[in-house]
Structure formats: structure tokens, C-alpha cells
């Protein structure tokens, strides 16, 4: 069972590291990486669950593993959209700040709609 304990620690650490980076790092690209780290941790949890469910001659429970495959593709697609927006913003504005500006003039203060 030791590999499972190690994997558990890896999964939990990835989630923790991801959450930390997700909250603290201001750059959107880094937030995206952090999100993917959390994703990796979550998928590992599925993997651990799958491994624990080895039965009937299978070394794993195939259902969670199949879900991970779906999940990885979805996470990739999400990253692609985020990257596209970030790149576009760099082209238009030269940078991205995800936080609203502090004084009254908040995001989208344009008069035209």
C-alpha cells in the first residue's frame, strides 16, 4: 500500500501548491499553471481511487481512469481558451491585470455599451 500513500501525498501536495499559487500569483499564465497543478492533483486522486479499486483480476478500476482521460482533455481545452484570451489581451493592451482597479473607475467603465 505504500505507493498509494506516496501518491496520496503527491496528490494532496499538488492541490495545496496549486491553491497557493492560484491565490497568490498575479500573472494569469501562472494562475493557469496553478490550475493545471490542482488538476493534476485531482486526477491523481481519481488514480488512487482507481488503484484502490483493483478487483476481479484488474489491477485498477477502469471507471475513474476513464474519467481522468476525459478530464485531462477538458483541462487542456480550458487552458487553450485561457491562453488565447491572454495572448489577445497582450496584443491589445500589452499586459493583463486580473484585479479591478481600486479607485472608482472600475472595469468596463466605458460609457458606450
Amino acid at each position: 500500500m505504500t505507493p498509494l500513500i506516496v501518491a496520496t501525498l503527491v496528490a494532496a501536495s499538488l492541490v495545496g501548491i496549486g491553491v497557493y499559487g492560484f491565490i497568490l500569483h498575479p500573472h494569469p499564465l501562472r494562475k493557469l499553471l496553478a490550475f493545471n497543478l490542482i488538476g493534476g492533483g485531482v486526477f491523481l486522486v481519481f488514480g488512487i481511487v482507481a488503484r484502490r479499486g483493483s478487483a476481479a483480476g484488474l489491477p485498477f478500476d477502469p471507471v475513474p481512469q476513464a474519467m481522468v482521460i476525459t478530464g485531462i482533455v477538458v483541462a487542456f481545452a480550458a487552458s487553450a481558451i485561457a491562453i488565447a484570451i491572454i495572448v489577445r489581451l497582450y496584443k491589445l493592451e500589452g499586459g493583463v491585470d486580473l484585479d479591478p482597479a481600486l479607485p472608482r473607475k472600475s472595469d468596463g467603465e466605458s460609457t458606450e455599451s
Partner: protein, 500 residues
């Protein structure tokens, strides 16, 4: 052995209700151009008919309609299940989506002879994706399938936010996307833990097995907060005001009226369908408290906005807060739970219709006046009477004045609060209503005063009528018959049913 679920007659309708928008997405994307719009508008009535048929089937059977995909029983297969609540939502979604589509034709319609454009294709594909995603959310009975549905919804909603391509809109969309992804991944983590503990993702099977133990609580907490983030419950609303105010009106109507309800619906599923046996009253209270803070904070902030669309967006923050009072007011198997549940569902519906109508009106107003500054609305009601009539009627519902869905929701909420002895919840309900009256006053009174409003573009009666129709639905919800409240209890576990 667990009771084996079986397909019920009309079960195939559930699959079709999900597949129809999917077919629309694929065809619209493949054919593009003018066809995208035609396909979306052509399939919409069919989807509405399906929704009505499903609701009728549920009402007639008096129990949920189910379908096992591929003929496979859960836990191995995925099952779809339409109960009273999901059937209701399905119909509401269909009506609002059709209204939004018709409304959007003026902006995203592809005129004869012109080629495909970026915004048009995006809109017609994504709007169907929102529909499909919502249909999955209300019908699916499998937690992982629901995760895919959540992502469909996110992927559809984000491009709608930045469809106009302005930098502010892009920032808003990015903020929304990243935070929503974070929310979904937390939800997914909870799903993994549930599977680890019980080896199934099926809502019904889980609800029969769950017990109060740490892994369930961690899973529930993660899923809940993840969904709160996607629902933009104050103080997790960082994305909502900018996203909803930067999207074009038709999209805002859908986003504010329906999309946030999607993740909220999953919260209902989680706490009222998966975990009701645990009777987690403290959790319910925390959710109620967060909702109260949202009501007060959102309303106060709405009072201060200079722009109409931002005001409406903050009003959504507040109205979302009301939704969360359903947790303390409808949990458990008490006599008053039935009232609280009715209140919550009515609040979902009333807000969906009223808010969609408001955003549409705000869009028309901005198009006609060339701005949406509240301070410069003097005399606008005379220039755009139908638009302001719509705003007024929707406000009546938001404030909770009779006869309107909003009134019924508040009325029932207060009754549940009083009957359950939880007077404390009546304070946010009432203060929120007062502040809603305040911001409605801010919009309506200057517009009704004298003054000359210069129209940059004449009023568009056809689109005004669409918004007005939605507002009238919000009003008409005030006349909901008693039987409706029994209908939405169909398939809800642990209920007392209607009081004798």
C-alpha cells in the same frame, strides 16, 4: 439489493432534450454563416416542445421520468432523471433562451448575402451550448456527467462574455474563466472523493448510502465552495459584475438569468438530493448567512453604480443571495420545508425572467441613447416607454411587490422563516427588498421626469416586446396555482409533501 431503476415511458425525451442542442452546435459549426442562425432558431421550438413534453410527462406520472443511457444501470451506466424541479427549469430555460435568441437576431443575425462573422458564429454556437449545458445539468443524475455539463456551460459562457472583443470584456472573460475553472476542479475533487468512498457517481445511489463521515464532508465542502465560486455568491463574486455588464445584452440576459442558476441547481442537487439524510443544519445556516451577506452587499453596491448594466449586475449578486436562503428554509423534513422549497424555486424562476428582461431592456436603452449612465436618463421613459415599462415590471418582481413571482418568493420565504422560528432570515429578505426598491427608484424616477432624451437610434418595438414578454412572465408567476408547489416536490427525497 438496491431497487433497480428502470426506464420510464417518455424517458427518451430526456436524451433528446440534451442531444438536440448538441446537434445544433455541431451543425451550426460545420455549416457556419447564415445556417448557424437558422439552425439555432429552427431547433429552438423543438427544444421548447421537448421541455413541455417532459414537464407534462412528469406531471402525469407524478414521479420522476428516468432513462438509462445505453440501457446500462447505474453505477456503471449514466442515468438521466427529470423530476419536478428539473422539468420546471427546463421549460424556463427554453422560454428564456428562445426570447434571447429572437432578441439577439438584431445584433447577431446574418443578413442575406453577407459572409460568416466572428461574433455571429460564436453567438449561435455558444447560445446553443448554454442551452445544452443547462439541459444536461438539470437532467443528468451522474456527478461526473454533471462535471462535463458544468464545463460545457463555462466554455459556452466565457466566449459570450467577450464576444464584443473589447479589452475590458476580455479581462472580464479571463477572470470568469480562470475562476470558474477553479470552481469546477474543486467540484471534481469532491466527485473523486465520493467515488472513492462509495464507488458510484449516481445521485440516487449515493443518497441511499451517504453517511456522516469526514470524507463525505470534505467532498461536500469542496463541491459546495466550487459551485459557490461558479454561482458568484458574495464574496466570491469577483468575476460577475464585470462579466455580466460587459457581455452584449442578449448574452447578459442568459448569463444572469440562467447560467448562474446552473451551478446553483447543482448545489440544490447536492444538498437536497444527495445529502439530505445528513441533516447538516449548521452548513445550511452558513450558506444562509453567506446568502444574507450577498443580499445586503449586492443591493448596497447596486445602489451605488453609475451605469445601468453594472447596477443590474450587482442586483444579480444580491438576488443570488436570496437563492441561498432556501438552504436553511427548506432543509429537513418539516412542515415548513415545503414552503421554503417553493420559495426557492420561485425565486429562481422570478429572478431568471425578471433579470433577463432587465438586461434586454438595458441593452435596448444603451443602443437607443448611446449610453447607460443612470444620471443621464432624464425623460428617457417618454422616449422609450416600452423599455421602461419592462424595467418597471421587472423591478416590481425584484423588489417583491405583488402580484409578481418575486413577491410570491419573498412571501413564502418569510412564511418559512417565521414558521420555522428562524426570524433572523427575514431581516436580509426585507432589507434587500428595501434596497431593491431603492435602486429601482434610482432607475425609474429620473426617467419618468421631464426632460428631453436624445435618441441616437429609434426604439425597436419588436425587441422591446420580447423583453416585455419576459417581464410579464415574471409578473404572471405571481398567479402560480397551488398545484405547482406539489409538482416541484416530485422526486425530492425527504419531503413531507404538501401540508394536509
Amino acid at each position: 439489493m438496491m431497487e433497480l431503476a428502470a426506464n420510464t415511458p417518455a424517458g427518451s425525451l430526456l436524451v433528446l432534450a440534451i442531444l438536440l442542442p448538441v446537434v445544433g452546435i455541431l451543425l451550426a459549426f460545420a455549416l457556419g454563416g447564415r445556417s448557424a442562425e437558422r439552425i439555432a432558431l429552427g431547433l429552438a421550438p423543438l427544444s421548447l416542445a421537448l421541455a413541455v413534453a417532459i414537464a407534462t410527462a412528469v406531471a402525469r406520472a407524478g414521479k420522476p421520468v428516468t432513462y438509462m443511457i445505453g440501457g446500462l444501470q447505474p453505477p456503471l451506466g449514466i442515468s438521466l432523471r427529470a423530476d419536478g424541479l428539473s422539468a420546471t427549469m427546463l421549460v424556463a430555460v427554453a422560454v428564456i433562451m428562445i426570447a434571447a435568441m429572437l432578441y439577439a437576431r438584431a445584433k447577431f443575425g446574418v443578413p442575406e448575402g453577407s459572409g460568416e462573422s466572428r461574433s455571429a458564429l460564436t453567438f449561435w454556437v455558444m447560445v446553443q451550448a448554454v442551452w445544452g449545458g443547462l439541459a444536461m445539468i438539470v437532467l443528468s443524475s451522474d456527478l461526473f456527467n454533471l462535471y462535463v455539463a458544468l464545463e460545457v456551460l463555462t466554455f459556452a459562457a466565457v466566449p459570450l462574455v467577450c464576444i464584443e472583443g473589447r479589452p475590458e470584456a476580455l479581462v472580464a472573460a479571463l477572470r470568469y474563466l480562470i475562476f470558474a475553472l477553479f470552481g469546477s476542479i474543486c467540484y471534481l475533487l469532491g466527485v473523486a472523493l465520493f467515488y472513492g468512498a462509495y464507488g458510484t457517481m449516481d445521485i440516487i445511489l449515493l443518497s441511499q448510502q451517504v453517511e456522516a463521515k469526514p470524507v463525505v464532508w470534505v467532498a461536500a465542502a469542496l463541491m459546495t465552495t466550487g459551485l459557490l465560486a461558479k454561482t458568484a455568491l458574495f464574496p466570491l463574486h469577483l468575476w460577475l459584475p464585470s462579466a455580466h455588464s460587459n457581455a452584449p445584452a442578449a448574452a447578459s440576459a442568459v448569463l444572469s438569468g440562467l447560467v448562474v442558476k446552473g451551478s446553483f441547481f447543482l448545489l440544490l442537487r447536492l444538498w437536497f438530493y444527495v445529502l439530505p439524510a445528513l441533516q447538516a443544519e449548521d452548513v445550511m445556516r452558513i450558506l444562509g448567512a453567506l446568502g444574507s451577506v450577498a443580499i445586503l452587499g449586492g443591493s448596497a453596491l447596486a445602489l451605488m453604480q453609475a451605469r445601468l448594466k453594472l447596477l443590474i449586475a450587482y442586483s444579480t449578486v444580491a438576488q443570488i443571495g436570496y437563492l441561498f436562503l432556501v438552504f436553511p428554509l427548506a432543509a429537513g423534513a418539516h412542515e415548513w420545508s415545503h414552503i421554503g422549497w417553493g420559495a426557492g424555486v420561485m425565486q429562481i424562476l422570478a429572478h431568471a425572467f425578471a433579470k433577463a428582461a432587465m438586461f434586454m431592456s438595458a441593452g435596448l436603452l444603451a443602443e437607443s441613447l448611446g449610453h447607460d449612465q443612470i444620471a443621464r436618463l432624464n425623460g428617457a421613459a417618454r422616449a422609450l416607454p416600452l423599455t421602461f415599462l419592462t424595467l418597471a415590471i421587472s423591478s416590481v418582481s425584484l423588489v417583491g411587490l405583488p402580484p409578481s413571482g418575486g413577491f410570491v418568493a419573498k412571501w413564502l420565504m418569510l412564511q418559512a422563516a417565521v414558521a420555522s422560528g428562524q426570524w433572523i432570515w427575514s431581516a436580509p429578505i426585507l432589507i434587500g427588498g428595501l434596497m431593491a426598491a431603492g435602486y429601482a427608484y434610482r432607475i425609474l424616477t429620473p426617467a419618468l421626469r421631464h426632460g428631453e432624451a436624445l435618441l441616437k437610434r429609434p426604439a425597436q418595438p419588436r425587441r422591446e416586446a420580447i423583453a416585455l414578454a419576459l417581464a410579464l412572465v415574471a409578473l404572471g408567476l405571481g398567479f402560480t396555482p397551488e398545484s405547482f408547489y406539489d409538482f416541484i416536490e416530485i422526486g425530492r427525497p425527504l419531503t413531507m409533501g404538501p401540508s394536509p
